[in-house]
Amino acid sequence: MGRQLHTFRVCRLLLLVIVATWLASFTSASAGAQNTAFDLAGNAVNPLKSAGGKVVVLVFVRTDCPVSNRYAPTIQRLSVLYAGKTAFWLVYPSKSESAEAIRKHEREYGYTIPALRDPQHVLVKESHAQITPEVAVFDTGQHLVYHGRIDNLYEDIGRARSVATTHELEDAISAALSGKSLAADATHAVGCYISDLE
């Protein structure tokens, strides 16, 4: 977990395959609610499908991860800043966090962003997310154009700058909105491992 950037590019072919798999599974969701994320009322939700031509930002968080909690004001601020052109979703990948616990968490941290539960890690896999907090940005064509850290506030766990000096999420949103492609479409996020929730 050093300082090098994870600069693997998402292979477009692979990505298409994954999207296809995901869409396929979504169609079967109504049958057994398999392979889908849920809103807090328990309904199956596909945040990409319901984007209505907007850029989609998935933000992976967990209620007991101090790094992702510290980012709450930043995440909320960016969701307001880009409202209208982007759709932000909080994604809780924990199997055990209840809708009630998530509602409480949202209230406490001042979130007004809609939340999804992703107990089967459908969105986690779709986004290649490994950490909370980690963000995934999908362009209007529903292609994953960026996943990784929000900014560089944390260099590592326990090693934080006083302020962030790079702002990867904002750069990715701007690029997606202007239709540009990004040079590096993945960075290494710092926080808590999503795989610990499996």
Partner: protein, 615 residues
């Protein structure tokens, strides 16, 4: 009436650079040994191998109500952070413990062995197996509420501090008016800083002179600031480290090392917070534990520093700041507290004994302000007179130091703000008593230290001030005048130093010289009791009783419980012919202190005069 001023830094901290040769080697060792247990020991299980490590090293912070952001008490708890734990332990981010292992051992060392780190790694790699229930040791239990039992006195901060949801670290000071009505011996303070997840560290400074209150916008409001200067009348009270960090139980002083707490003493709690992501109200409480055993041994805090050397050019990766102080007497080191801010990199303290033997007192290879701590030795470290204590701190002011508060880096000098730097090394030492009352070893150390600081920096205000106060205590008035004059030269408007210089001149009969300094003191601080009192005496000595009267009145207003001020006010009133009011104030002085001689004699005089002149 002079006051000694001592600077105590609010303790601050550092973050360790997780790179560097040593750390890299450790990581390699860890990976190698991670393989061994996995191969040699067929299976690592939570119940048999991991729970004992976690219970002993993690659970004290990671249980509900404590500083850890999630509990680590059960298999499910640990599994849901398994990879995280393997990562942070392999990099020694957790448990937080900065000193490198060395010859001298610290109490409560919190450092995993390589074998323990490897076992955690193997457990995660093998799929986090729970194991046999019969292997699970009992879950540790922790006292609920006050850790040392019910305190004798509980003090709560008057007003909460609102920690913003976001932003960089904040430093806030709470001033506690201690509800103590007579001098008490304090054996422990339990600091409950509020929500422990927010507080990185806190320390208590004993404030006998209301230094903290003067910085509050309104009473009880508290004030911002990372480092503090607290005045104190004597040198002894501040000789204890009153420090809180997450997970450490409150420290009770051994018998004979209690701390004196007087009526009207304030306790200033200096806290370092990190935002949590939501706004938080923080209202700390202090639990005070008294003893009837007064202090019989008196440690002192010895500070090495070299602020004048702290002038770090931008981009400098390895800037050295050093200081060397030679002990004038035999002493034992009880505890050590190295302190730098965000540029601090490698902090080393050495002792070179007269025979040339070197001891590493502490070495922190990866300084991390956030985990700063006071380290107490398991056994006192005995150092003979003539031992040189050396501070060798290095700083990284390059852009590669991610904690650098200035991006791009800029020149950084010594100062109290988080963006300034510090190079301080505090040692709590117990000088060996000589049995010779004239050769108080504590004063010898203090004097040597003040001279040392003046040598390092002739512009060191506190050193001149403290040296003056020590000389005055020894009866060297001429020396005290010279040193106080230097202090006033450095800070011409500083009220405390001006009052001290005025006071010592007044005490040696140089009344006319004293008055301008006392006036300056009052200009700087109009509600300064001591300066009003001293100026009242000076003016009365010159026969200016109406002038004296107004200052004694001010003094009585500022401190209605001071018998001498009342007695002197009575005297000045009598001198101006107002015998009726004079009598009232003499009586008031005797109410406060029935043994007040001035009031008693003057009252007797008034009574004799009244009888001699019935009309």
């Amino acid at each position: 009436m002079t006051r000694a001023s001592q600077t105590l830094s609010g303790f601050s901290i550092i973050l360790a650079l997780a790179s560097g040769g040593v750390a890299a080697r450790h990581a390699a060792v860890t990976r190698e040994s991670a393989v061994k247990p996995a191969a040699a020991q067929a299976q690592v299980t939570f119940n048999r191998d991991i729970a004992p490590i976690v219970f002993r090293n993690c659970a004290q912070c990671h249980h509900p109500g404590e500083a850890g952001p999630f509990p680590l008490l059960t298999y499910a708890d640990v599994k849901s952070h398994g990879r995280q734990i393997a990562f942070v332990t392999s990099k020694r981010i957790m448990p937080p413990w900065l000193p490198e292992p060395g010859e001298l051992k610290f109490a409560d060392e919190l450092r995993l062995s390589y074998e323990e780190i490897a076992a955690i790694q193997a457990w995660v790699d093998q799929g986090e197996i729970e194991g046999s229930a019969s292997d699970l040791p009992p879950q540790p239990t922790f006292p609920v509420g006050w850790q040392l039992g019910k305190p004798d006195v509980i003090a709560r901060a008057a007003k909460p501090y609102l920690l913003p949801a976001s932003g960089s670290d904040s430093y806030w000071n709470f001033v506690f008016r201690t509800p103590v009505h007579r001098a008490q011996w304090l054996r422990a303070i339990e600091i409950r800083p509020g929500d422990k997840r927010l507080v990185h560290h806190a320390n208590v400074l004993v404030d006998r002179e209301e230094s903290g209150r003067r910085l509050e916008k309104e009473p009880g409001a508290g004030f911002a600031g990372m480092e503090l200067i607290i005045e104190s009348e004597a040198f002894d009270p501040d000789s204890h480290f009153l420090f809180w960090k997450p997970g450490s139980p409150p420290y009770a002083e051994p018998d004979g090392m209690a701390l004196r707490l007087d009526k009207n003493t304030d306790l200033v709690l200096n806290t370092h917070f990190q935002p949590s992501g939501k706004p938080e109200l923080v209202q700390p409480t202090l639990g005070l534990y008294f003893t009837d055993k007064p202090a019989t041994v008196h440690p002192i805090l010895l500070q090495l520093d070299n602020d004048r050397m702290l002038d770090i050019p931008p981009g400098e990766k390895n800037f050295l700041v050093s200081d060397d102080f030679t002990l004038p007497v035999d002493a034992s080191v009880l505890a050590i507290y190295p302190h730098a801010h965000y540029l601090g990199k490698d902090l080393l303290a050495l002792a070179t004994l007269p025979d040339g033997t070197k001891k590493t007192l502490i070495h922190i290879g990866n300084w991390d302000l956030n985990w700063q701590a006071v380290y107490r030795y398991q056994e006192p470290v005995d150092l003979p007179a003539g031992t040189t204590i050396s501070m060798r701190f290095t700083y990284d002011n390059s852009a590669d130091n991610i904690r650098n508060p200035n991006q791009p880096p800029k020149r950084v000098v010594a100062g109290n703000r988080a963006s300034d730097e510090m190079a301080h090394l505090w040692l709590q030492v117990l000088p060996r008593e000589t049995g010779d009352a004239m050769m108080d070893p504590r004063k010898q150390i203090q004097e040597a230290l003040a001279l040392h600081h003046i040598q390092n920096n002739p512009e060191d205000f506190e050193a001149h001030y403290n040296l003056a106060a020590l000389l005055r205590m020894k009866g060297d008035v001429a020396g005290a005048v010279i040193q106080f004059t230097q202090a006033v030269r450095i800070r011409p408007e500083e009220a405390t130093a001006n009052n001290a210089l005025g006071g010592v001149l007044l005490g040696s009969g140089r009344v006319a010289e004293a008055i301008p300094y006392l006036n300056t003191a009052l200009k700087g601080r109009p509600d300064y009791f001591d300066a009003h009192y001293n100026l009242g005496i000076a003016l009365a000595t010159q026969g200016d009783f109406p002038g004296a009267l107004s200052h004694f009145r001010a003094a009585v207003r500022l401190n209605p419980q001071d018998a001498m001020a009342e007695a002197n006010l009575g005297s000045a009133l009598a001198e101006t012919g107002n015998l009726k009011d004079a009598r009232l104030h003499f009586e008031r002085a005797l109410q406060i202190d029935p043994k007040n001689e001035l009031a008693r004699e003057n009252l007797e005089q008034l009574n004799r005069d009244a009888h001699g002149h019935p009309n």
